[in-house]
C-alpha cells in the first residue's frame, strides 16, 4: 500500500469502465472532485457522493484513472465492466 509508485496496467481502448467509492474510507480530501467533479461528486460536507459501479463516460478514462489514483485514502477503484478485458 505505497503512495502510488506501482504503475497501473495499460487501459484497453474501447473498454467500458466503472468507478466505485468505499464511503467508509472517504475522509473528504476531495482530490477526485478537483479532477473530475461530474464523475466524482461530493456532498455538502465534502464527502464522496459516488456510489458503486458508476459508468465512466467514454473519453474520460484517463481523467477517471487520475482521480482514482489521487485519493490518499485509496477509497476509489476503477474496474472494467464484467465481460470486457
Amino acid at each position: 500500500m505505497s503512495g502510488g509508485a506501482a504503475p497501473r496496467a495499460a487501459r484497453v481502448p474501447g473498454t467500458p469502465y466503472t468507478v466505485s467509492a468505499d464511503r467508509d474510507s472517504c475522509q473528504g480530501h476531495a482530490r477526485c472532485w478537483e479532477i473530475l467533479p461530474d464523475l466524482f461528486p461530493i456532498d455538502d460536507e465534502g464527502y464522496t457522493g459516488l456510489g458503486r459501479r458508476t459508468p465512466v463516460p467514454e473519453g474520460r478514462e484517463e481523467q477517471a484513472r487520475r482521480a482514482v489514483d489521487s485519493c490518499p485514502e485509496r477509497a476509489l477503484s476503477m474496474n472494467p465492466v464484467a465481460g470486457h478485458r
Binding site: G3, Q27, W33, G46, D69
Partner: protein, 408 residues
C-alpha cells in the same frame, strides 16, 4: 548526525525500547534539526524505520509514509487525546477527540469548510491578496513573513468571522504575540494577556452573531444542525479558537516554504509564470515537498507497530514531513515536479482527522501564488540572508527576507 546518544537532561529509556533505536531528536530546540529540518527528516528516514527519542517525556517517531498513513487511520490504536509532544494542557476540540465524540463535531464542521463553501470565499481572498501585493509593488525588498505570510491567513480569518478589515491590525498583533513569541518571562505574561483578549473578543463576537446572524462561518456554526446535534455557544467559541490556533501559522509556514523554494528556483517559478494554470498542481507538489506538520498520538494498547513493541501510553510522532518525502511512496522524492502523478501526499494527514482546513489552505495558497506572481514575478532571497527555522508541531522559517524585482 551526532545525536545518537541520550544527552544529560533527557529522560531515561524505557525497557521495551531497543537501544539501537534511540535517537535524541529534540524537535523544538535541537540545533542540528533546526539548521535544516527537511534534510534532517530525510536523513532520519534513511537511517531508521522508527526510533525513540528521550526528549520531552520520550516518544516514538515513525518515518515511513505507509506506517504513518496507517497510524492516522487507526484512532482505535493511536488516540488524539494529546496531539503535541510535549502534550499541551489546553485541548483543542475536535483535534483532541477520538471517535465517536469526534465524529459529531466533524459532521457539524464539514459544511462551512467544504470545498464548495470555501470556493465561495475565493473572490474575497483574492482581494485580500491584492491588497497585500499592492503594498509591496515597487518596493525593493520585504520580509515575506511580516508583509504577506502572516498577514494573508490573518485577513482570511477575519473574513471567516465576518469582521471588517479594520480589525486586521488587532488580529495581526494577536497572531504575533500568541503564535510567534517564545513564551518565557515577560513574554509569557504578554501571551496570557493576548489569549485573554482574544477569548473575550471571540466570546463577544459569538454572542453578537447569535442574536444577529450574518453570512460567515461563526453564524453558520451557530445554526447548523446534524441529526439533532447542535453546537453550544461554548463549542462554537472553541472552534473559533481552534481556527486561530490551527489555521494561521500553518498557512504562514506553508507560504514561507513555498516562497523560499520559488525564490531560489527561478526555473520552477518560470513554469508558473508561463502557465498559471499549473498553480493547483504546483500547490500539491510543494505541499508534498515541504510538509510542515508533525502531529502526534498516544498509544491506546500494547501492540506491535512498524516492527517495534509499543506500550499503552507511549507517545508517537507522525511527521508528515518525513512521510511526504519517502522514496517508497514518491519516486525521486526530492525532485519538485509540478506534474507529478499520482501525488497522494498526506500533508493534511489521513483518516478521520484529515485537516478540516485543507480546502481553505489550498485556496489560500492558490490565490496567493496567482495574485503575487501576476504582479511580482521576480524575486530572490536577499543575498547573504541566513534563514532560521522554528520547530515544534509546525516547522517553518522565522523570517524570509526577499529582494523584489530581481531574479536569483
Amino acid at each position: 548526525m551526532g545525536q545518537g546518544d541520550a544527552p544529560m537532561g533527557a529522560g531515561s529509556i524505557p525497557d521495551h525500547v531497543p537501544a539501537e533505536l534511540v535517537h535524541a531528536l529534540d524537535h523544538w530546540n535541537g540545533a542540528e534539526f533546526l539548521a535544516d529540518p527537511m534534510g534532517y527528516w530525510d536523513s532520519l528516514r534513511n537511517r531508521y524505520r522508527v526510533f525513540w527519542s528521550p526528549h520531552h517525556g520520550g516518544f516514538w517517531c515513525l518515518l515511513r509514509y505507509d506506517d504513518i498513513h496507517e497510524a492516522f487511520r487507526r484512532p482505535d490504536l493511536f488516540s488524539s487525546h494529546y496531539t503535541n509532544i510535549p502534550g499541551r494542557e489546553v485541548r483543542l476540540l475536535p483535534i483532541s477527540l477520538d471517535p465517536p465524540e469526534h465524529t459529531k463535531y466533524r459532521r457539524l464542521l464539514g459544511r462551512p469548510f467544504s470545498p464548495q463553501n470555501i470556493q465561495r470565499l475565493s473572490a474575497r481572498v483574492e482581494e485580500r491578496c491584492l491588497d497585500l501585493v499592492h503594498a509591496l509593488e515597487g518596493q525593493p525588498e520585504c520580509d515575506f513573513m511580516e508583509s504577506f505570510a502572516k498577514a494573508l491567513p490573518t485577513a482570511v480569518f477575519c473574513e471567516l468571522l465576518g469582521m471588517p478589515t479594520a480589525e486586521l491590525p488587532r488580529f495581526l498583533e494577536w497572531n504575533h504575540v500568541i503564535l510567534h513569541v517564545h513564551g518565557e518571562g515577560e513574554n509569557a505574561q504578554r501571551q496570557r494577556q493576548a489569549n485573554d483578549d482574544l477569548a473575550s473578543y471571540l466570546t463577544e463576537l459569538v454572542q453578537r452573531r447569535r442574536s444577529d446572524p450574518k453570512d460567515d462561518v461563526i453564524s453558520q456554526l451557530l445554526t447548523l444542525q446534524v441529526d439533532g446535534d447542535r453546537l453550544t455557544d461554548q463549542e462554537v467559541l472553541g472552534v473559533a479558537h481552534l481556527l486561530f490556533m490551527a489555521g494561521l501559522d500553518t498557512v504562514t509556514a506553508s507560504l514561507a516554504w513555498t516562497w523560499q523554494f520559488l525564490a531560489t528556483h527561478p526555473e520552477h517559478r518560470q513554469q508558473i509564470l508561463d502557465d498559471p494554470g499549473l498553480i493547483p498542481d504546483a500547490v500539491e507538489e510543494l505541499l508534498r515537498y515541504q510538509s510542515i506538520v508533525e502531529d502526534s498520538r498516544t498509544v491506546v494498547t500494547d501492540m506491535a507497530w512498524a516492527g517495534v513493541r509499543m506500550r499503552a501510553g507511549d507517545r508517537v510522532m507522525l511527521p508528515t514531513t518525513a512521510a511526504s518525502r519517502d522514496p517508497d511512496a514518491f519516486p525521486d522524492p526530492l525532485t519538485v515536479d509540478f506534474r507529478r502523478e499520482p501525488n497522494r501526499h498526506i500533508a493534511f494527514a489521513s483518516g478521520v482527522h484529515r485537516c478540516l482546513g485543507s480546502h481553505l489552505a489550498r485556496m489560500e495558497m492558490r490565490e496567493a501564488l496567482q495574485g503575487w506572481h501576476a504582479r511580482i514575478p521576480h524575486y530572490r532571497l536577499k543575498p547573504g540572508a541566513r534563514i532560521d527555522y522554528h520547530g515544534g508541531a509546525v516547522i517553518g522559517p522565522d523570517a524570509l527576507p526577499l529582494e523584489l524585482g530581481v531574479s536569483a
